[in-house]
């Protein structure tokens, strides 16, 4: 076996860790079903996720010079199915930590449910896919990993068992199938255009040179972007997002908003890095820029009208996905870097916001009034997260990544996108300030929830503390984040 394909287990560790967790959980659940109410499953899963994240960070540090490769075919092809540079490793670490945060929020609500082992297993499976897709360089592995990152989430949404949740899951499943069809079609066209089953610059360059194959390549990229647009919640593939977010439980939503977005971006970066520096002109920029501009505008405008925090965060996700896509329209190395930095910052801030909402138990913005006094930890963390999302100091890191995201299109001369970004910045500030201003307000009379049952739950507290610490450190020393993404 090893004579055909080389395998380096240490390099694969970020993906293997959740797989190991899945095996452990399934075996444990089979041996002692329902032991301790199944609550042991979540800490075990969290441990393997953190272990995987440590492995990913190690890989990022080691791979500073040279991408870590494994699963390589023997010469002369010398193609490696797994190739993780520092950026991919940083995104993998992000996916694993975001999944751990989602698990923590699931844990908080675990008293209400019986099937925690199943939930944890599904989460770990989806995480495996998300980690693997960041390093996948061949079409097959990329597609399988991407689907592995999606399908378990549909089950997670449905698992809640309520009628709206099932409804949401159905919508998610149907759209995800449609988008998978698009992805497969796009992958097939890519193979047709380039003649190679890998995402490589050389292959794309060959297809770009030939006018006839260029049209096929264009269609392939358009379909792949459309398929990924579903996972990233880009307009017009976003319709499931505002339906599913408020209906699924907060842990699942946090997974969708954090880990899922990170893995979708990682997949997108694999595709765009094959195109960066090879293709240019208004066409490619338009294929990426159209969904980005629509997402920025529609997401922000609709987020302005929401009263439910989950729905607000759903539309905010749509707008932020536009921000992630925005620097990629430059089709340059700087753009890739900016997108990775942006998505990491966004995921951290959004997870902190979800943790704070979960802790406050708020179902409307009005219920978070006075949160800063009632629960300074949740209120303070939420305030910082909102400032980061809006890009206002003291959430400096939000501002830094926004500047990076805009500077790539500026350098490439994609001015229409810059104009859209400016409008989105202004409207975005209104979105998050609208929420921020209610946080320091006085306690409202006659609000039962505000009456002050003491805040509980060390799991969400951990997420809040770690997330806020990450945001604060990145705000003080933004270059740490920028070196991490290459």
């Amino acid at each position: 076996m090893s004579t055909v394909v080389s395998v380096d287990l240490l390099v694969l560790a970020p993906a293997l860790a959740p797989v190991l967790g899945v095996v452990l959980l399934l075996v444990g659940d089979a041996l002692a079903p329902g032991r301790a109410g199944g609550r042991w499953a979540l800490p075990v899963a969290a441990c393997v996720l953190v272990g995987g994240a440590v492995a990913a960070v190690r890989a990022a540090l080691v791979a500073a010079e040279d991408p870590a490769r494994t699963l390589c075919l023997p010469a002369p092809g010398d193609a490696c199915l797994w190739s993780a540079g520092p950026r991919a490793s940083a995104l993998q670490a992000g996916v694993l930590l975001a999944a751990a945060a989602a698990l923590a929020l699931v844990h908080e609500a675990a008293a209400l449910r019986r099937d925690t082992a199943v939930t944890a297993t599904l989460l770990l499976a989806a995480t495996t896919g998300g980690v693997a897709v960041a390093a996948a360089r061949d079409l097959g592995g990329w597609l399988v990993a991407l689907e592995l990152a999606t399908v378990p989430v549909v089950a997670l949404v449905a698992l809640r068992g309520t009628r709206p949740a099932t409804h949401g899951a159905l919508g998610l499943l149907v759209t995800s199938l449609a988008s998978f069809a698009l992805l497969v079609l796009g992958a097939g066209l890519w193979l047709t255009a380039t003649g190679e089953p890998t995402f490589s610059s050389a292959a794309a360059a060959g297809a770009w040179e030939d006018p006839q194959r260029r049209a096929v390549l264009a269609l392939a990229v358009a379909l792949l972007v459309a398929g990924l647009g579903f996972k990233l919640s880009l307009v017009p593939f976003h319709a499931w997002t505002p339906q599913v977010y408020p209906r699924a439980d907060l842990g699942t939503t946090a997974f969708l908003a954090g880990a899922s977005k990170l893995s979708a971006t990682a997949a997108l970066l694999v595709l765009v890095s094959a195109l960066a520096g090879v293709v240019d002109g208004p066409g490619p920029a338009l294929v990426l820029g159209l969904p980005a501009a629509l997402s920025l505008l529609l997401g922000t405008v609709l987020a302005l009208r929401q009263e439910d925090p989950a729905r607000l965060l759903a539309w905010s996700t749509v707008a932020q996905a536009g921000w992630v896509l925005l620097p990629l329209t430059a089709l340059s190395e700087d753009g890739l870097r900016a997108a990775a930095a942006y998505v990491l910052t966004y995921a951290t801030a959004t997870l902190v916001a979800f943790a704070a909402v979960s802790r406050a138990g708020a179902r409307s913005l009005e219920q978070t009034r006075g949160l800063l006094r009632r629960d300074p930890l949740a209120g303070g963390a939420l305030a910082l997260a909102l400032l980061v999302l809006a890009g206002l100091p003291p959430g400096v890191v939000g501002l830094v990544v926004k500047i990076l995201a805009v500077s790539a299109p500026v350098a490439a001369g994609v001015w229409p996108m810059v104009a859209v970004a400016v409008v989105a910045v202004v409207l975005g500030i209104a979105v998050y300030l609208r929420w921020l201003v209610v946080l320091p307000g006085p306690r409202r009379e006659g609000d039962a929830r505000a009456g002050g049952e003491p805040p509980r739950g060390w799991a969400s507290a951990t997420v809040l503390v770690v997330g806020t610490a990450l945001l604060a450190v990145a705000s003080v020393l933004p270059h740490l984040l920028l070196t991490a993404v290459g």
Partner: protein, 625 residues
């Protein structure tokens, strides 16, 4: 010894004073001790360090500019610094009595300390940026001091008026400083003077080297003569504002709403005299620019004569002193304006020195007399000083000095000013003749109103003159200042001021002119108010400062307010209209978006996905090929 010490001690005292302001005794002790220490330091520096030294703390390159933050101490500057410190100490000591019962005495003492620090900074600064800092701090402190009794609407209005009028003039000062610094590339006084001294030097060199005119103009982008004139005039405008010269004169009489010690400080040694110090530093440039000299000369000639006439006709004695300040500052500045380059500005600085002594003496003595009489109106104050020997002596010496009688301090300095103006008139390229004529007329008018003031306060008897109760501080201060006013003229023997010999002719002329003035005042006899005799009709107009306040309102305030209303209208109706429109459009877009997302069916979502993919595919294929 670093001149910074002179600035630091009172500045520190003001900080400490703010901290201990609730405890009157502590605040007073801090203020007086710091004042004494400052005077000691200034005196030591003056006596022990003859010759000029220049120092700078740090070179601060800011962009293309060089900020040396330099200080300079030459004997003239140190003499002025000493007299500033002396007057400040006198004011602080006197205030412990005068404002002893005031509930905001602590703030007052701290402000006076800060004011002193700012003035000393202007005196020792050899850097235009430092000068500007001191200048601005003085403006701010004067606002606080004039408005000290802020519960009275008149005091608030006077403070605001002083602040606004000087601020308007400061526009010129700031522009002038910025222009000079930018042209020279440095803010150091010597650098600025050096760079602007010969504005056409570079051009002439280039032309002499054979370069054609356009190229020479291109090579010499630095200062040129016309720019220098404009900047000097701007600077002069700022100085006229702070020194309350025409057309900015009207804030100073209103500033009498402040406590008398504050008036003594502002009028005698600090704010109004600061312009003289600044222009003296830039005298090499000023002497070379006839236009700026004419602007300054005309303004101060009009000011000193007008103010002397108005002072004579005031029905309020404190306002009489205020107008006399306008007149005397005009005399100081006239020396700077008229003196030819060879003479230098030191005659003006000498008059600053003597004016500081006798004007503080007069103000503090009048303050005491006013407390005894219960008001400052001439009718009320008649004879109020007659019962107290110290007041009689102080007022006698003070008014003699003001009138310019030879041998006392005011007379000595006035002779030097006259001599400088004569030199200027002979040299003939400046406003020398005009200034000389104005000076002679002003001297006569000054003698007349000084005589009037002394007659009213001491000679006219009232029923029961009372001295009032005072602490020992007040008489001590007055005796000290009286002595200084008698002997202060000896400063010319120290050689601190670079002065020319004054011939005996000027002495005779001064005596003659003063005699005319005194005689004029005594036309109605010893027992009648000379203003009633000579200028009964003028009194109501003089009390209102010839209605200049109304002129300010009509010419400046109303047009500015009208313009402000237009701007506000444009802002709220036009600019805000766009902003409101944006908000409206955003809200409408949000409503439309929610309408579109109301149908939450899976088929809609799938339709959107497929439709989006088709659109994107079409765009991709068409755009790429």
């Amino acid at each position: 010894m670093s001149p910074w010490l002179l600035v630091a001690v009172p500045a520190l005292a003001s900080l400490v004073g703010v901290v201990v302001r609730r405890e009157d005794r502590w605040a007073g002790a801090v203020a007086v001790l710091a004042g004494g220490l400052t005077l000691l330091l200034a005196g030591i520096a003056w006596v022990l360090e003859p010759g000029s030294t220049a120092g700078h703390v740090l070179d601060l390159p800011v962009g293309g500019l060089d900020l040396p933050l330099a200080t300079a101490t030459d004997p003239a500057r140190l003499a002025v610094a000493t007299v500033v410190a002396l007057v400040a100490l006198a004011v602080q000591a006197y205030s412990t009595w005068y404002l002893g019962a005031d509930d905001r005495y602590g703030q007052f003492a701290a402000t006076v300390s800060l004011f002193t620090a700012a003035m000393l900074l202007v005196v020792v600064s050899a850097d235009l940026v430092l000068t500007l800092v001191g200048w601005e701090v003085m403006g701010w402190c004067s606002y606080l001091l004039i408005g000290h009794w802020s519960r009275r609407p008149e005091a608030r209005r006077a403070a605001l008026k002083a602040f606004l009028v000087t601020r308007v003039a400061d526009i010129g000062f700031v522009l002038g400083v910025v222009g000079f610094v930018a042209g020279a590339g440095t803010s150091g006084l010597s650098g600025v003077v050096g760079a602007w001294r010969e504005p056409t030097g570079c051009l002439q060199e280039q032309l002499a080297a054979g370069a054609p005119l356009p190229e020479a103009l291109g090579a010499c982008d630095a200062p040129d003569g016309r720019a220098r004139t404009v900047l000097l005039v701007l600077l002069v405008v700022g100085v006229l504002g702070k020194s309350a010269q025409v057309p900015f004169q009207d804030w100073l009489p209103d500033a009498m709403e402040g406590p008398t010690p504050a008036s003594a400080l502002i009028h005698a040694a600090t704010m109004v005299a600061a312009g003289t110090v600044v222009l003296a530093g830039l005298h090499p440039l000023l002497a070379d620019s006839p236009t700026a000299r004419w602007v300054l000369g005309v303004a101060v000639s009009v000011s000193m004569l007008l103010a002397a006439v108005l002072a004579f006709a005031q029905s309020d004695l404190k306002r009489m002193l205020a107008w006399s300040t306008v007149s005397q500052v005009g005399v100081m500045l006239s020396a700077v304006a008229a003196a030819p380059p060879a003479d230098g500005p030191d005659a003006g600085l000498l008059h600053l020195w003597s004016h500081a002594l006798f004007k503080s003496l007069l103000f503090l003595a009048l303050g005491w007399a006013a407390v005894a009489a219960g008001g400052t109106a001439a009718v009320r104050m008649r004879g109020s000083a007659s019962a107290t020997p110290v007041l009689r002596a102080a007022l006698l010496v003070g008014f003699l000095s003001l009138a310019g009688v030879p041998l006392v301090v005011g007379g000595v300095s006035k002779e030097h000013v006259l001599a400088a103006a004569y030199d200027g008139a002979v040299a003939g390229d400046g406003p020398g003749v005009l200034v000389l004529v104005a000076l002679v007329l002003t001297s006569a008018a000054t003698a007349a109103y000084a005589t009037r003031g002394y007659l009213l306060l001491t000679a006219h008897r009232r029923d029961r003159p009372r001295a009032g109760t005072v602490t020992p501080a007040a008489p001590a201060v007055l005796w000290a200042l009286t002595g200084a006013s008698v002997l202060g003229g000896l400063v010319v023997l120290t050689g601190s001021f670079a002065l020319h010999q004054v011939s005996l002719l000027w002495l005779v002329l001064t005596v003659l002119v003063v005699g005319v003035g005194v005689a004029l005042a005594l036309v109605g006899g010893l027992d009648r108010d000379p203003a009633e005799v000579l200028a009964r009709r003028l009194v109501p107009y003089a009390d209102r400062g010839l209605g200049v306040d109304g002129l300010y309102r009509r010419v400046v305030a109303r047009p500015v307010l009208r313009l402000a209303r237009v701007v506000a209208y444009v802002d709220t109706e036009v600019v805000d209209g766009y902003v409101r429109g944006t908000a409206l459009a955003t809200r409408a877009a949000g409503w439309l978006g929610s309408r579109l997302h109301r149908g939450e069916r899976s088929s809609t979502a799938v339709g959107l996905v497929v439709g989006g993919a088709l659109l994107l595919g079409a765009v991709g294929v068409l755009g790429w090929s």
